[in-house]
Amino acid sequence: MSTASDLTFMRTFSGGDPEKIKKYVGMFLKMAPPSLNQMDEFSQKMDWKSLKTTSHSLKSQMKYMGMALGAEIAQKLENICAEESGTDEIPDLLSKLRSQVALAVTELENELSKL
């Protein structure tokens, strides 16, 4: 079964240090849900510039958490917002991103509990 996240890079990067993994993943878990809420707000206000910036920022963090699909969706959002074209796709992309983050949060919390 495929997963929404993968901590392989994080383990290599931290040299297997559980405290460091907890620190970085913990920061992501704290930041990702509010970022998604912000993105919803920006979408409703049609503030594409802010939505682009937040997608961009979240994308980098998702890459480190091994969230390939999540990062891909964030990249699509970033591109749409930059071009301000195809904005009707945004609600669907945001919904998919929210699902990916929700799955990843559960997986990551589970991983942290094992450390």
Partner: protein
């Protein structure tokens, strides 16, 4: 001798990346590292004389009114051109990289898994470049002093010869 400053600033409004980069560079180098979320805070602390600044291209994901990385880069170069700035960006676009180089950035790193290794290499390259620059300056100074020394010696010998203290000029004069 070139200025080998042992202080690094990391300016990024993504706390996860900033923390990871700080931890990595702390482990791999002997530099002291300060992290800033906003470019304005970094500019305020430039009097601490950092040698290297890792600077995010987009600095307004948290504070919409914050100045962006390019503006910060220009300000840093205006205040202290000796600071080497390494730009960080999530965009793998050659035109963005070229633009930052035109504004005086030393290097451009795309955020991703390899970014930390590349950042470490950038620190090493800057250190090596500064050291070579320092050696070149030392050689230049040495050459100048040698030229002055020989000139003075030649003048002294000519003076001694004219005043009759020595008979013949050495062959090299």
């Amino acid at each position: 001798m070139a200025d080998l400053r042992k202080l690094i600033f990391i300016v990024d409004d993504d706390p996860v990346l900033a923390e990871m980069l700080k931890d990595h560079l702390s482990k791999m180098t002997h530099y002291e590292i300060h992290v800033f979320e906003k470019g304005e805070d970094c500019i305020e602390k430039l009097h601490l004389k950092p040698g290297i600044v890792f600077l995010d291209f987009y600095l307004n994901s948290v504070d919409k009114d914050a100045i962006d990385g390019l503006e910060v880069l220009q300000e840093i170069k205006k205040i202290d051109p000796d600071i080497d700035v390494v730009m960080l960006s999530g965009q793998d676009k050659i035109e963005v990289a070229v633009k930052t180089m035109q504004y005086g950035a030393f290097d451009y790193i795309v955020k991703g898994e390899s970014a930390f290794y590349r950042a470490e290499k950038a620190v090493f390259n800057i250190y090596r470049f500064k050291k070579l620059q320092g050696n070149a300056e030392s050689y230049k100074r040495l050459s100048i002093w040698l030229a002055i020394g020989f000139g003075a010696l030649a003048l002294l010998i000519m003076y001694l010869q004219m005043s009759g203290n020595i008979k013949d000029l050495p062959g090299w004069l």
